[in-house]
Amino acid sequence: MSTENSAITPKRESLFSKKNRKLLKDPLSESNPITIQVLGICSALAITVQLQQAVIMSLSVLFVMIGANLLVSLLRNLIPDRIRIIVQLVIIASLVIIVDEVLKAYQPDISEKLSVFVGLIITNCIIMGRLEAFALANKPGPSVFDAIGNAMGYAWVLLVVSIVREIFGSGAISLPGMGQVKFLPQDWFVSSGGFYENNNLMILPPMALVVVGIIIWIQRSRNEALIED
């Protein structure tokens, strides 16, 4: 688990103080939940076939994380220690069920594609990890920043992986209202006499692992502090 749980400062601090900025920024790179802590990998591999699914999944995780971090932080002085994990689980599970119900009502197609993975947000280690490591010991404000930071850290990796996989796996990115946006000229494809064919391996989960691996590689080669001995 990361170590940025600094003590609560007595002075009232501004919204974008250095500390709050750090809470938002760190999870994007140096303590990224996926690439550095390697949490939440299951969903990251499973639902990154299409950009659209990854966006909805990221928004769902963002909502659940902000909600859970805020609630746990507000209740942190009331939650009995002995049942704190159960309380955290109940809060996460309720928020996830709400997300699931809303998706079923307003985004039925996406909800179907995400299938069990929305429900599995409950078991996403990132969320409970942040509750246990941060929200239980910090005020609501910083907890919300921490939630946004970590959810964004999760989101950008998902988005990058899904964009790569959709372009190379399906040859086009499908966007709501715009249909299929092609990135390669049609006459490159074998079907119209060209030389290029979509890589079917890209739409299978193993390639998500490879793409995440490449992101980790790039990230560590740029930031030597992250390289382990």
Partner: protein, 249 residues
């Protein structure tokens, strides 16, 4: 006196209050979103029925496309007698409309076939060929599976099929909903007696017209598909016999 946060009494009180609040919030969310979810489920059902007869449509157009291809909706009893019939646009509030029969609920209820009624959709495809669409429901590995099987007017040749599932394993059993699986049913034929149709794990003869290959790694789900087709056809068989007999006379 300060409250002892670790006392048993406090822990119980906290849990009770938490459960009541959470329960209320979830019940409220569920109830207020129910109408929209029901509409989505009905649209999806139309899309799937049309999918079984090879007509591709979207959720938005399902409501208007449905009556164009589905000419008549029947409900029959377990002996093949027609109980109700509806045509035209689907009335979601009318419980006598066969479209509103919830076959999934009936399947879960474990009632005997004689206590239930079964929906049957009589459709015409794009070139006006008469097709019978039968809803099927069964059990996969983790949860319910369902679908629609379309039969040609000889009531023996499979015209098309469409399957779906609730919680089958992605990449394995969940692939029953993919076209590569349902396309294999096209042109296959039913046997004259049960098992009317089977899904085979390995070693299927290519000339066998009464079966298709199961999905690798999804055997239990595949077998579930075969079972639900066989069980459902054995009920609709009575209706088919009565139709064939009356047309011969």
């Amino acid at each position: 006196m300060a409250i002892n946060k670790n006392g048993t009494g406090y822990t119980f009180l906290f849990s009770i209050i938490m459960v009541v609040i959470v329960g209320t919030a979830l019940a409220y969310t569920s109830l207020s979103l129910k109408p929209l979810q029901k509409k989505n489920a009905a649209d999806k059902k139309m899309v799937d029925i049309l999918g079984a007869i090879g007509v591709t449509t979207t959720r938005e157009n399902a409501e208007t496309d449905f009556p164009t291809y589905v000419k008549e909706r029947l409900s029959i009893d377990s002996e093949g007698n027609v109980l109700n019939s509806s045509t035209g646009k689907v009335d979601h509030a009318d419980s006598s409309d066969p479209f509103n029969l919830d076959v999934k609920k009936d399947y879960r209820s474990k009632k005997l076939p004689s206590e239930l009624s079964f929906p049957l959709y009589i459709c015409e495809d794009v070139i006006g060929k008469k097709i019978y669409v039968i809803p099927v429901v069964g059990s996969g590995l983790w949860g319910p599976i369902w679908g629609f099987v379309a039969l040609e007017s000889d009531m023996n040749t499979i015209y098309g099929a469409k399957f779906d599932h609730k919680t089958e394993t992605p990449g394995l059993g969940a692939e029953i909903k993919d076209d590569f699986f349902s396309d294999k049913f096209k042109g296959q034929k039913l046997r004259d007696a049960s098992p009317y149709f089977t899904i085979i794990k390995g070693g299927r003869k290519i000339e066998d017209l009464h079966s298709v290959d199961g999905i690798t790694g999804g055997t239990i789900t595949s077998v579930g598909v075969g079972e639900m087709i066989d069980r459902t056809i054995s009920i609709y068989q009575y209706y088919f016999e009565s139709v064939t007999n009356s047309s011969e006379q």
